[in-house]
Symmetry: C2
Subunit: 120 residues, 2 copies
Amino acid sequence: MTGPALKIKIQVYCGEEIAMGPGKADLLDAIASEGSISAAGRKLKMSYRRCWMLVDVMNRCWTMPVVATSTEGARLTDFGVDLLTRYRALQAAAQAGGAGRWPALEELLRAEPLPVQPAD
Amino acid sequence: MTGPALKIKIQVYCGEEIAMGPGKADLLDAIASEGSISAAGRKLKMSYRRCWMLVDVMNRCWTMPVVATSTEGARLTDFGVDLLTRYRALQAAAQAGGAGRWPALEELLRAEPLPVQPAD
């Protein structure tokens, strides 16, 4: 099984760092639902260290902290909730904008790639 | 210097392979302007082998060949020209669709990330 054939990735850069993207947005969703960075990492099959680094990048790139951590766990700040909503709205708007142009590409696409030809 | 803060990447999958994306589209532009895969690779600072593999993926994913090679070099087929035009139209439409939602994110973004804090 394969996913959808069209993927639109929205990346927001702050200098050389990616302040927000599909993976970071999914991590914020997981932190909101799981209540800690470690539980979010288990849900997304990412290491705690990797999750923590993504959170750190976000907290350094935006004008206010996105995730707040305490001894009890982690949660999105009000700012983080708002940011995630705005990012999801941008994703949806880009997807909607591109949707009308997608059939013209899809009709040229094979269902599966041809096999790789062995080298002579 | 850094590039634009918003990047919208359109990836078209065929099964598990990426049939078209920003890098492949740029490679097609370079083949069209340079007239060979090796010259396109030099222009894009990519190895011949890497360029050839990207072309091979495209030729296997779409219903007709995208790039035709001969002893004289390489060129886009009429199909490839049409495909590239359709992909660029999808890119532009997604960008235009997202544009209205971008200021709401941009206003929350720092000009540069805060520095990484040294570990305690």
